[in-house]
Amino acid sequence: MAERAPGRGGGDVSTTVDRPASVPAPAEPSRPGPVSWLTTTNHKHIGIMYCVTAFAFFLIGGALADLLRTELAEPGRQLLSNEAYNTTFTIHGTIMIFLFVAPFGAGLGNYLVPLQIGAPDMAFPRLNALSYWTFAGGGLLVLLSGFAAAGGGTATGWTAYPPLSESRLSPSIATDLWIFGLALVAMATLLTGINILTTVFLMRAPGMTMWRVPIFTWNMVVTSILGLVAFPPAVAAFGLLFLDRRVGGHAFDPLGGGDPVIYQHLFWFLGHPEVYILILPFFGVITEIIPVFARKPLFGYLGFVLATLAIGALSVGVWAHHMFTTGVVDNPFFSAMTFTIAVPTGVKFFNWIGTMWGGKIRLATPMLFTIGFLLNFLIGGVTGVLLASAPIDFQIADSYFLVSHFHYTMMGGAVFGIFAAIYFWYPKITGTMLRESLGRWVFYLLFFGFNLTFWPQFVLGLRGMPRRIVDYSSGLGFETPNLVSTIGAGVMTVAVLVFLADLWISRRHRIPAGDDPWGGSSLEWATTSPPPEHNFDAVPRIRSSRPAFDLHHPELEP
């Protein structure tokens, strides 16, 4: 049961006391038992549950990735059968995208958005609980579709293109479970999106105008809008696919007169905004972190918000750059749109560097991960511009170049953002610090291992190795890069183990953090760590986008 993530107890409903959590607001925060975790409507508890569950999925997905890399270490077959390999990369991709990065962003949003705008909770706390459990149920089904379904796991790739995903070619019920699980995850995203938008628009503290809202919250707003725009078409696609498979529909089956390309349109209309749903929360995270550790205000707040809005809007018009090689989409249109989206992203890099420029930078662990994010994401972004050019894409589509490109954005970007967020906000969430020394080790191992894993994959892609193959011949120049890549995956695994050790040590021997260990500037640093049930005993006066900084340094207030 992956949703019973570590740190939340067994969740055994039947043996515990009845309804300890329905006592109205106890003065002293009692240690929550399993039933209160199951029934909570508090945005902070739900945020933590989202993050812990998502991280548990990360561990599963990471273990699958290690399996894949071990299989590919050298020519010949190592561990996995053909079918097992296909299932493994399908579930690895699905978990990392839909069950780890996106829900981790949703969890951070749940925890931080009300704190950052000075609200006591989300606008719809009960809906919030429902969306968490919907996500958990959907995640469980996706896991089942990989491991526990009769007739073999689902093996369609995370994109599940028909006709491969039609029942002729994927008869196992695992694919049905997968479809259904993702529909649930989509529903959870919609509910969370509505919740966050309502919270930000209607529950800000007095004086917290929209132009003073922290960048992380702004990015969650744009993320939520994108979720609302992008997920319904994908649910429609999954629904039609389900009808094709179970009821004998022919929406996407060319043998019945259907059109598989329509599935690709619907899927990528989700799929491309989805990558911005994945990355935007972590753009927000590092935009919170850089000013704190550069000890300067953010350079260009307004430009940053407008750039985020521009990315959000443009990202809806680029979906078919995933379909250049189908030959039936308007390549110049999507190429041009995709080049355009690089411009606001460049504006953001300009803002980040401008914020660091001339600052007195403290290289604490969150800042290290942030700098790692900038370096990796830049490579990911630039190779994305290459891929956006249709003539180049025709050469390297579906090669390891593409695999490396999106790992540089998703893992080098989003996952480094996740670690930055964990090290930055862990003191706020628990009231205790993580170990700085171990944190540095995690960073250096992860950064080194990551580049060791994925840089050789650019080479592999240019030498012509296609993605999604279980084996390759020797003598094609594939051996050395693959071996190096597998070693890098091992280094990253060590990094994650060191991180888990860090968590364990920091829970056993607690170092009190105080309310504001970093000298933060947004409103969550003005309350206690961990925050009380209702978040703020007294909301401070808000006169700028840095209310906590103004509170702690009244002499500098404008």
Partner: protein, 123 residues
């Protein structure tokens, strides 16, 4: 508010451009519908904004005292229903996948938990 008007205009505009360039139905419909959705929010916000005085939230000089007495609602009690709703959905879905014999149980669980969830929100 203006944000949603702008989004609607952008998506519909992009949809028209896309149609003129490609004559491809799927993308055009997706873009235009994506443009119509923000209109709901924008329309509501414009309507509500015209009939309501401004919130202290949006006053750059607002102080916490301005928000005093503002009714934000109350904390809801802890609720166990979401877990059962999701179990109901999962069971119903499993019925569609594994066999319709599970369907009555799934629908019953889903209905029971939905009714419970809604009744609980009334008090």
């Amino acid at each position: 508010m203006r944000l949603f008007w702008a989004l609607a205009a952008f998506f519909v505009g992009l949809g028209v451009v896309y149609w003129v360039l490609t004559y491809e139905w799927t993308g055009t419909v997706l873009l235009v519908v994506a443009g119509l959705m923000p209109l709901i929010v924008a329309g509501w916000a414009t309507h509500a904004g015209s009939t309501r005085t401004s919130l202290p939230d949006d006053d750059p000089e607002g102080t916490p005292a301005d928000g005093a007495g503002q009714e934000l609602g109350e904390f809801p009690e802890a609720t166990g229903w979401p877990v059962f709703i999701v179990l109901g959905i999962v069971l119903t879905g499993a019925a569609l996948v594994y066999g319709l014999i599970l369907l009555p149980a799934g629908i019953a669980l889903l209905g029971w938990s939905l009714v419970g969830f809604i009744r609980e929100s009334r008090h």
